[in-house]
């Protein structure tokens, strides 16, 4: 009786989220997968007949008549993955020491600092990226500032370069890396570090054998949360990249709008999801293995 009741309560508690995810996550996901195997409609939308060329033109089995294979799509995907990985690496290097420093601050200062990290969320991403456009343009704050300080003699050529795109993505993603890192570092058992040092470990050894393994979950969490939205990001390359460094997110957007090719856009989306999921599974499995 009580077990049956427990089950009923559990079902009741799980029902809302299951329904919600079922309707708003699984159905759209299934739609994307199904659309990616359909024939593109002439004016957008789809025609309900099987069509595998959406994948063929990406992976190379297109016949050259119905669809043409072009390596450009794989290259764009590769570039997006590279940019995302770089964003993760830079965010990690920047955030790790800061998270340590903040975890050592007195309680009141810590609260203030955490508030400052989340402050950007209070304004629109688009507005903030336009602000970066104003900073990065040759006659902008950064360029003029460096010239006024005598650090540069020629105007800064950053805007509309891949550097600007990565810079913008790092800026957007820093809070997402910082918060999980901070959570892990804050709960670090400092007694263990002291014990390691007392027992003759060098500082490097103590870091590698004690600190790093304990903060690994935070690193993994931050890396995952930063990597996923970075791969598909299209706003940053749009505004700061001047559409010269096309990323896969821009490509998907273009397929659904200007090119009116929904199935091809869906196929690209399915591939992004598959690649991201695979990369993450391998990454997490490796971390687990090392952590264990």
């Amino acid at each position: 009786m009580s077990r049956r009741r427990e089950r009923a309560v559990l079902a009741l508690l799980l029902a809302p989220v299951t329904l919600y995810l079922g309707v708003f996550f699984l159905v759209p996901l299934a739609t994307i997968v199904v659309f990616s195997f359909l024939t593109p409609g002439l004016y957008g939308g789809v025609e309900w007949s099987f069509y595998h060329w959406n994948y063929g033109r990406i992976f190379g089995w297109a016949d050259g008549i119905t669809e043409v294979f072009e390596p450009v799509y794989l290259r764009i995907l590769g570039r997006s993955l590279g940019f995302a990985a770089l964003t993760v690496a830079i965010c990690l290097v920047l955030c790790y020491p800061v998270a340590f420093w903040v975890s050592r601050l007195p309680e009141r200062w810590r609260a203030l600092f955490l508030f400052l990290v989340t402050l950007p969320f209070f304004s629109s991403l688009i507005v903030r990226l336009y602000a970066w456009l104003l900073i990065l343009r040759p006659s902008g704050l950064l360029g003029e500032g460096l010239m006024a300080l005598g650090l540069r003699s020629t105007p800064l050529e950053l805007l509309y370069t891949p550097v600007a795109v990565v810079l913008g993505m790092v800026y957007v993603m820093i809070p997402f890396m910082f918060l999980p890192l901070f959570a892990a570092i804050d709960t670090l058992d400092r007694a263990q570090v002291e014990a390691a040092l007392d027992l003759g470990a060098t500082r490097t050894q103590a870091f590698l054998k004690v600190v790093l393994p304990q903060t690994l979950p935070g690193i993994a969490g931050g890396a995952v949360i930063v990597f996923i939205p970075s791969v598909g990001n299209f706003i940053v390359p749009d505004i700061l990249g001047g559409a010269r460094g096309l990323m896969v997110g821009n490509l998907v957007e273009q397929q659904f709008l200007a090119a009116r090719n929904w199935p091809f856009g869906s196929a690209l989306s399915v591939i992004i999801m598959t690649v991201v999921l695979t990369v993450l599974l391998v990454f997490v499995a490796r971390l687990r293995a090392r952590g264990a």
Partner: protein, 342 residues
């Protein structure tokens, strides 16, 4: 462009949250910054019909939303080729606007829709050109595309093109002497090669060029005639319709088949037939109007600028986009190649 989409969505959300009034309403779905707010104010003052305005940034964005079943909009402003597509898809309502006595104000040359040659569905709204804005103090005189692409080497100034597949491909087609609607693979290839050859000189493909032109970060930019609105006080920044040829656009006011307020929509079309209303729009938008008497009512500096109030000999070198049908695929591939080339 995405940014405007987000802004439009935010606006839509804000509007959706408003109080449900019992008064008469009309819901417009238009390009961003493509109607003088004063026109809407006047309409409301005269008719008592409250107007809401949502915006989109491309024909395809609007079509995708209407196709996906967005309801609640009464009036859309498609380009001519998109009007043809929407008519083929049965998305537009017949208004019989051409039977109105004031329709005589409309120059028949602007009845460009192939599917609606008599104007029984839509009212020709506005038209304009896509050309070159340049900072004459930096670039010297610029007459056309050849001068434009020579700017970086000659002066060190930077240039930008629109982030728009059809507009950029059109430059390549024009420079090869082809139609901007060519579906010949050889023409598309030649146009692609031309643009690829220019690409190293192009700093960016972007819609955000006007602010950078004003700040001096760009020396010249490919943009719509409406950009003139930013440069009324800056005589060194000039607009030219390229000598080799250029594209023009024309949008029409159409009523959706799904419109909830068809009667109010018809009133708006009739209101917009009046020359003083069309002229009021031009005085803020800087584009052309098909309303013949309205052209005599616009401010002097617009009426006397041959790059805005275009004479017939310039008109002759303008081309308008048509739908490419299946050939759109070849353009899309070319555009990806152009954007990823190093």
């Amino acid at each position: 462009m995405t940014i405007r989409t987000v802004a439009a969505l935010a606006l839509a959300a804000a509007l959706a949250g408003g109080p449900a009034a019992a008064e008469e309403t009309l819901a417009l779905y238009n390009w961003g910054d493509y109607i003088n707010p004063e026109v809407l104010k006047r309409f409301t003052e005269e008719t008592g019909i409250a107007v809401t305005l949502d915006t989109y940034s491309s024909n395809e964005e609007m079509l995708a939303k209407i196709q996906a079943g967005a309801t609640g909009y009464d009036i859309v402003f498609p380009s001519v080729h998109m009007q043809d597509i929407m008519l083929k898809l049965g998305l537009l309502e017949k208004t019989g606007i051409s039977a109105h006595p004031d329709f005589a104000n409309i120059d028949p040359a602007f009845l460009r829709s192939k599917e609606d040659p008599e104007g029984e569905y839509c009212l020709p709204y506005a038209w304009g050109t896509v050309g070159i804005f340049y900072n004459e103090a930096v670039t010297g005189p610029v007459a056309g595309w050849a001068d434009f692409f020579a700017i970086p080497e000659k002066t060190g100034g930077k240039i930008s093109l629109l982030d728009d597949m059809r507009e950029v491909m059109a430059i390549g087609l024009i420079m090869n002497g082809k139609s901007v609607n060519s579906t010949e693979p050889a023409d598309v290839r030649a146009a692609t090669d031309y643009i690829l050859a220019q690409k190293p000189k192009v700093t960016a493909f972007t819609y955000e060029s006007m602010a950078l032109l004003a700040s001096g970060d760009l020396a010249a930019a490919h943009f719509f005639v409406g950009g003139n609105v930013f440069f009324t006080e800056t005589p060194n920044i000039r607009y030219v319709i390229p000598a080799e040829g250029a594209t023009m656009y024309q949008e029409n006011i159409c009523v959706l088949a799904s419109a909830p307020h068809k009667e109010n929509a018809r009133k708006f079309l009739e209101f917009y037939l009046r020359p003083e209303i069309a002229a009021l729009n031009v005085s803020q938008q800087f584009n052309g109007t098909p309303n013949v008497p309205a052209n005599g009512l616009t401010p002097d500096f617009i009426r006397q600028n041959p790059n805005i109030n275009v004479p017939p000999e310039t008109m002759a070198r303008l081309q308008i986009f048509e739908d490419l049908g299946p050939a759109l695929r070849a353009y899309d591939r070319a555009w990806n190649t152009i954007r990823t080339a190093q």
